[in-house]
Amino acid sequence: MTVLQVKVWRGGESGHYQEFEVPRFESQSVLDVVTYIQRSLDPTLSYRFACRVGMCGSCAMTVNGKARWTCRTHVAKVAAADRLEIAPLANLPVVKDLVTDMSPFFEKWAAAHGRFQGGRTRRDDFERVPPDSPQRGLVDEAIECIGCGICYSSCDVVSWNADYLGPAALNRAWTLVNDVRDTDQTRLAAVAGDAGCHACHTQMTCTERCPKQLSPTASIAGLKRLALAAALEGEI
């Protein structure tokens, strides 16, 4: 039987890699490997997962240097020479082992006014969004984001600029500025400038790594244009 050599991050912000030998199975995912280690080799290993089928995004980790959903990553795809290095997501505080604290990630969603703000009450009729309207078409892909943090973890600008809101929060803001029902007039100013969309270098790592093949880069580019037009007109 083939054996995988697996290095797993242990500890918090400071720590070390611990090596494990894991039997190689057919159609084995990286999440299977982590689960094997915890259940058969070291029950003190901490990691996070929920759905196991690529719907929740909670099993995101750094696998051989790249952020990935471990449940949707086959070992065969990433383990060259049967070696794996598994670490927590980058750009986030480490709680323990493979578990990160997602608070900064979601705090930036809040800072980007990522909350829908409607103008109707429960007594009003539904406000309709025409599916084929241009504004709705602009966010057709962007609304599929599930907030897993892969893009945030992969973004170099986040690592250079701690204030930068990051691809996911900006993508969320882009969906809302194009939502005809939303009434928040201050969102564009909140996501513009040095800590917002204009800090993006268009390196597109977020787009390359997004497990749902979304393009936060395109959303950010849209925000840049809208914010520049608003700034020229003195609206922000």
Partner: protein, 112 residues
Amino acid sequence: MNTRTQVLLWGAQRASAAVLALCVIVHLVTIIYAVRNGLSAAEVLGRTRGSGLWFGFYALFIAAVAVHAPIGLRTILSETFDWRGRSLDVLVLIMGILLALWGLRAVWAVFA
């Protein structure tokens, strides 16, 4: 610096990049033309001295550089050294003014 100014700086950098792209191409073609035709320094100066067209072109080139470079440097310094605030803005403003002065001095030297 307020958000509006930050956004306008971003816009100015993109606009100056577009101008620079054009200017660099014209500049390179000019150099290649001059070298391939074996023009001496005196012959080059003979064409540029008193030429409002060349003066206008290189003045525009320098203006684009003086806008583009300091804004880019501001981002690089901010991301590399975690340096933000008024001191950084003043430094890059001074750099922009110096670039414009040095550049215009050179342009004037081949015009006057």
